[in-house]
């Protein structure tokens, strides 16, 4: 299988997953009990006005028609209008994407930077106290839920030490075109940290086991036999080999990370997709729920696609499969 075909197949799978996901999201959301029209008008409303509202909102059309008009709109960037406020969903969601994206992107970048050294120490020093300490710390980090870590961080760093804001968000560039990098970072430190604690802990365990495997590999022994010290051999010949399994986990963890972000946004009152999603669910504003979930699924699928393609960069054996 050559490179071009491999990439084409991956893209095809991506498109198919996107289609199936949109179907599933639409069906699940529309099968949920609870009717928007009833929710808007209240449970005591007269059935005739409920039916009238359903017609106005387009809820009386057949399921397939509603699905197609939703998907068609999404493709052109129109995610419909909120049932409750008649606001454009795209306008509601667009500024929030950046908030969640920053939160998730920082966590995804920082977690491996923490997990790589800690996991390597845990692997190389696994027979001494340093390794045991690294494993214990990751075990503890793993067992603290992100929202709880967030609350603890707020108590210590915002309420106690007053180093950082307890909640809220500042855009990198404010409404007047002014750059606000310091305030921007200050508001993200605690939420990102609470996500990183869990992510890095999970990742540390995978990094550790990947490197324990590398340590027993023949090529690692060869690298040491030609003159690399243990650590430099690991760095030079271990990281790339370990990356294959660790990158898989980073990709798979993204879904958990997004769920964590939704909760953490709530804890820190960040105006991201998570807070919008939770309030839309509470209000039965299904079209908003659909839109946001679809965006999240899209992000997961894109990252998984990138993960798949990154294997081709990391592992030369996959580039040309029939060459042995």
């Amino acid at each position: 299988m050559n490179l071009g075909r491999t990439v084409a197949v991956r893209l095809l799978v991506f498109a198919a997953s996107l289609f199936v996901a949109s179907m599933a999201i639409f069906l699940v959301v529309n099968a949920l009990p609870g009717d928007v029209a009833t929710a808007i008008l209240g449970f005591g409303a007269d059935p005739a006005s409920v039916a009238g509202l359903r017609v106005r909102l387009g809820l009386d059309r057949p399921l397939l028609v509603r699905y197609l008009s939703w998907v068609g709109g999404m493709a052109s960037g129109d995610m419909g209008r909120s049932y409750l406020t008649n606001e454009s969903v795209t306008a509601l969601v667009a500024p929030r994407i950046a908030v969640t994206a920053w939160l998730v992107a920082f966590s995804m970048l920082i977690a491996p930077l923490v997990a790589l050294p800690v996991g390597m120490v845990a692997a190389v020093k696994r027979r001494s106290w340093q390794g045991a300490a690294a494993s214990t710390v990751s075990q503890i980090g793993l067992s603290i839920p992100a929202f709880y870590a967030g609350i603890l961080l707020v108590i210590v760093f915002a309420v106690g030490l007053r180093w950082l804001p307890a909640n809220g968000y500042t855009d990198l560039v404010d409404a007047h075109g002014q750059w606000r990098p310091v305030a921007f970072v200050q508001h993200l430190v605690l939420p990102v940290t609470s996500l990183v604690i869990v992510q890095a802990s999970v990742l540390t365990r995978y990094v550790r086991s990947a490197f324990v495997e590398v340590l027993s590999e023949d090529y690692f022994r060869t690298a040491r036999a030609v003159g690399w010290t243990r650590w430099r051999a690991l760095w030079r010949h271990g990281v790339r080999n370990a990356a294959i399994s660790v990158v898989t986990v980073i990709g798979l963890q993204l879904a958990t990370l997004l769920v964590g972000a939704i909760v953490v946004e709530q804890v820190f009152r960040l105006p991201g997709l998570g807070t919008a999603l939770l309030s839309a669910v509470a209000n039965r504003d299904l079209i908003v729920v659909q839109g946001i979930v679809m965006i999240l699924v899209f992000a997961v699928l894109v990252i998984n696609l990138l993960t798949d393609l990154s294997y081709l960069l990391i592992d030369p054996r996959l580039r040309n499969r029939d060459a042995r």
Partner: protein
């Protein structure tokens, strides 16, 4: 002349229970000499080789003395020992299929060995790598240098490993069953290659094998190892003609299939030597 490699009362034990697998062996290797180390699997041959190279796992306890060029290696820290590996002494491993990093072109892996110990420009290194790959009998060395290990055959990979071991012209080359994983025709070619290259570089060789026939092609002198002890040593002629230990006599019999009459049962080591059951 003082020996190049001098091993005295080498003991290796593993794990918390300090289970000893090499029980105080001593031997010496003169400059330019080739010494065979023979024994069955589990006899401690590879552990001995790795102890000399300082490549044993961290849960290994090594005592005694290993001197290379007069320098004591036992007790050296990894970072003091590493510069000697690949430069003063190098190693050819048993498994060519897994001995190379699968994510790096082999040319770069060979160049690394060169650049690690000598300050050369990358262009110069590349030229030298191509040269050495040609020396170890690889056709089209330019193409091989850019290939990843998975694109090469076992024999080709073992030639690359030999190139890595010899590129810095070390004084001591340890070969740990370098042909065991190869099929018989490739085995003969790699043995001939080692024979020629060791001569060209002028390196001493500690050649480990379970096969006396293979050792006899390359070495002048042989150590016989059994259960962590050296039970016999001598020149090839002494080993073949006047071995004293029954285990050695068994090895000799199994290596001399020309002495077996057609129709006769093939000899086994157990015909000569039965291990006492230790309690």
């Amino acid at each position: 002349m003082s020996p190049l490699l001098e091993v005295t009362d080498l003991r290796v034990a593993f794990g918390r229970s300090h289970r000893e697998v090499v029980h105080g062996i001593s031997f010496a290797l003169e400059p330019g000499e080739r010494l065979g180390l023979i024994g069955e699997s589990g006899s401690g041959k590879t552990v001995t080789a790795l102890a000399v190279m300082g490549l044993l796992a961290e849960n290994a306890y090594v005592s005694g003395s290993v001197r290379v060029g007069g320098r004591e290696l036992v007790g050296l820290r990894d970072r003091d020992l590493a510069p000697l590996r690949g430069q003063a002494m190098s190693m050819v491993f048993q498994e060519p299929m897994t001995a190379l990093d699968p994510t790096m072109p082999v040319g770069r892996q060979v160049a690394e060995v060169l650049l690690l110990h000598q300050h050369l420009g990358h262009g110069v290194a590349r030229g030298r790598v191509i040269e050495v790959l040609a020396e170890v009998g690889l056709e089209d060395p330019e193409r091989v240098a850019d290939a990843y290990p998975h694109a090469l055959s076992g024999g080709q990979r073992q030639r690359v490993v030999v190139a890595m071991a010899l590129i810095n012209r070390p004084d001591l080359v340890i070969c740990d069953e370098p042909t065991t994983a190869l099929d018989v025709t490739v085995q003969a070619k790699v043995l001939n290659l080692l024979d020629a290259e060791l001569d060209a570089v002028g390196a001493s060789c500690l050649f480990i094998s379970h096969d006396l026939a293979v050792v006899s092609q390359l070495c002048e002198r042989v150590l016989v190892m059994l259960d962590g002890d050296i039970v016999e040593q001598g020149s090839l002629a002494q080993i073949f003609n006047s071995a004293t230990h029954p285990y050695t006599r068994g090895l000799v019999a199994t290596a001399r299939l020309d002495a077996v009459e057609p129709g006769e049962r093939l000899p086994t080591v157990e015909d000569y030597y039965q291990r006492q059951v230790r309690r």
